[in-house]
Symmetry: C2
Subunit: 199 residues, 2 copies
């Protein structure tokens, strides 16, 4: 790449640290930025800086926000008595995208994983129990992933909340809508059969 002047090489190098961006794509992006109008490049740079400076975690649910409390925690149309527990903001975004949930969230910031040394004190389980302790919480939906760590984390939370009068639920597992039975793995099929419901 030595045929490019230093500032281009530096940008190519910085861009290629982004996920899914290899040297070739980084080169194309850098040249695009070079030829783009000045204000477009300036906006991109400013947006990166602003993002890093202004984003923090909601003081209630730990979602990403640029305020003290996030948009969902301050939205009067959302059911504040219903809390959906997710691993991270990306999972929360996936649920929000589907427009399938009108309560609030609790972002754990990880899952229990003894092999990586992550215990209950390393993710926001205490904060969840504290929220559960306030009288207004009526239902907690646990939407951690359906892999080993996600299931273990769900079990741990269920165990901890068993004493309370809160209704504890787990997001359903089964055949994806439009999914072909032929291509479903055995575990999912077992779960789908086990959790079959009357119609």
């Amino acid at each position: 790449m030595k045929y490019y002047p230093e500032p281009i090489l530096k940008l190519i190098n910085s861009l290629s640290k982004l996920p899914g961006i290899g040297k070739k794509t980084a080169e194309r992006l850098a040249l695009h930025i070079l030829y783009a109008p000045n204000h477009e490049a300036a906006t991109l740079a400013a947006d990166i800086i602003e993002l890093k400076n202004s984003i923090r975690l909601c003081s209630v649910c730990f979602a990403l926000t640029d305020q003290d409390k996030c948009r969902i925690c301050t939205d009067p149309s959302r059911d504040q008595t219903l809390i959906c527990v997710v691993e991270n903001p990306t999972d929360m975004a996936a649920i929000e995208k589907a427009n399938a949930f009108l309560g609030t969230y609790h972002i754990l910031g990880g899952v229990l994983s003894p092999i990586d040394g992550i215990g209950p004190d390393d993710i926001r389980i205490h904060e969840l129990l504290k929220r559960a302790g306030s009288k207004k919480t009526k239902e907690i939906v646990i939407a951690t992933k359906t892999n080993v760590e996600g299931e273990a984390t769900a079990s741990y939370i269920i165990e901890k909340l068993k004493q309370t009068k809160i209704n504890i639920t787990r997001i359903a597992s089964g055949i994806p809508m439009g999914g072909d039975l032929q291509y479903i793995d055995q575990l999912t099929m077992q779960k789908a059969m086990e959790k079959r419901y009357g119609v």
Copy 2:
């Protein structure tokens, strides 16, 4: 996307203006930047700004550079009597990558294209003729693309340089190395046959 706070949405929007970056990829990149170390994001932003401020065109060959003359025009090991004419810096980079050329370049900054209103005065043909006029130039390799506009531009330059004593050459066309004859288009095959050489 309304589930993300404003600063994230703004960065997603800026990133999705880059070529080949859709909304989904932009979202992934923005979240990566959010979680990346501060200095990494700051470096990326600074590199974008520096690129726009420091890159200019070489005063001799019009390649991208951050100096008055580019690295190649000031390199004593490069043959300054040999000039390769290319359409743009990307084509120059492609030739440099192959390590196939040890002369200097002349970047036209486009091709003749009457349909788009681009004539000889709109690309750097005068500058090339001026360089050709200096006594030291011995050979000019024309490496414009092998499409209609590239060929027309090559013909125009050849016509203009016919009077000089400079050796004018055109980059060869033919079967790509390792290319399967079965998949070669007719025009390339005709050219490859026409330009066949004794071995």
